[in-house]
């Protein structure tokens, strides 16, 4: 059972606003084992020229996953999540996300293909503030192993 190709080109509605908190950034930095003070010490972050503590470079995945989770769970997409591995991930940043940012994410499924025995889906997620400032775009490739068998 392959991923449903009818979803190619589909753009999902923007996610509900996500407010980035200092506590969440520190929790994420702890989880990746990164002691960098820019992620948890406001004085250090401000001293380095940022408005508040900033997010590690891979943090936008948390926001894009929260938003794409809804898309992935659509039964019509026919994605078997236990068989999914991450193929590629790329971020383009306008600036670092920081505590206090309130953002939404909007996912587009750019492609669904069969490569050998696998089903491969690529998505682009744009992350913007609720004021409309584009902050980051996240491109992901997900591989459903055996999905095309």
């Amino acid at each position: 059972m392959a991923i449903n190709p009818d979803f190619i080109g589909k753009t999902f509605p923007p996610s509900a606003p996500y407010e980035i908190s200092r506590v969440k950034l520190a929790e994420f930095a702890d989880a990746i084992g990164d002691p960098n003070p820019l992620y948890r010490d406001q004085a250090v972050a401000v001293g380095a020229g940022f408005p508040d503590v900033i997010a590690p470079p891979t943090f936008p995945i948390v926001i894009s996953m929260a938003s794409s989770g809804q898309a992935m769970a659509d039964p019509d997409l026919n994605l078997n999540y236990a068989m999914v591995v991450h193929g590629e991930q790329r971020f383009e940043y306008e600036r670092p996300l920081h505590a206090g940012d309130v953002v939404t994410a909007q996912v587009t499924i750019s492609d669904i293909r069969e490569i050998g025995r696998n089903s491969v889906m690529t998505t682009s997620t744009t992350i913007s503030t609720v004021a409309g400032e584009h902050v980051c775009t996240a491109h992901a490739t997900l591989v459903e192993r055996g999905g095309a068998a």
């Binding site: 960098n36 590690p56 470079p57 891979t58 991930q89 790329r90 940043y93 600036r95 192993r145």
Partner: protein
């Protein structure tokens, strides 16, 4: 955190390897912090039932360690503009107190305008490349 300046860097310069540890506890913490509770990252029974050798790390955990390598090298006044990787091989995390190790190294690939520098990154675990086509573009002071 010292960091480098644009004037400091030269194309071809190697950035020495840094080792990052990943244990089952790392994965459980990453599940919680990221919201990615895919069972293959914490449940050995299900990981094996879907054909994996054991629990594997989130690709995004490995990418995060590569990101740490970049930001530690670049320093607090650098800005990451682009960061991309391909996950080439799963990183198996055994149920012991040691777990796995990610060895990240880098090289200055290109100096671009606007104080931007492109880095080529390499990430290996137990000799196998876990990331390929790993690249970051940073703006340096």
């Amino acid at each position: 955190m010292t960091g480098v300046t644009y004037a400091d860097v030269e194309v071809g310069t190697e950035i020495p390897v840094v080792d990052y540890q990943v244990t089952r506890l790392s994965l459980i913490k990453y599940c919680g912090a990221s919201g990615d509770f895919n069972v293959i990252h914490w449940n050995e029974r299900i990981a094996k039932s879907v054909g994996l050798p054991d629990v594997i790390a989130h690709g995004m955990f490995t990418m995060a360690e590569a990101g740490r390598f970049v930001t530690d090298w670049a320093g607090p006044r650098a800005i990451v503009l682009e960061f991309g990787v391909r996950f080439s091989s799963p990183l198996v995390v055994p149920d012991d107190d040691i777990g796995g190790t990610i060895n990240v190294s880098g090289q200055i690939e290109e100096k671009l305008d606007g104080n931007r520098v492109a880095l080529a990154l390499t990430a290996r675990s137990a000799g196998t490349k876990v990331l390929t086509r790993a690249r970051a573009v940073v703006r340096l002071p």
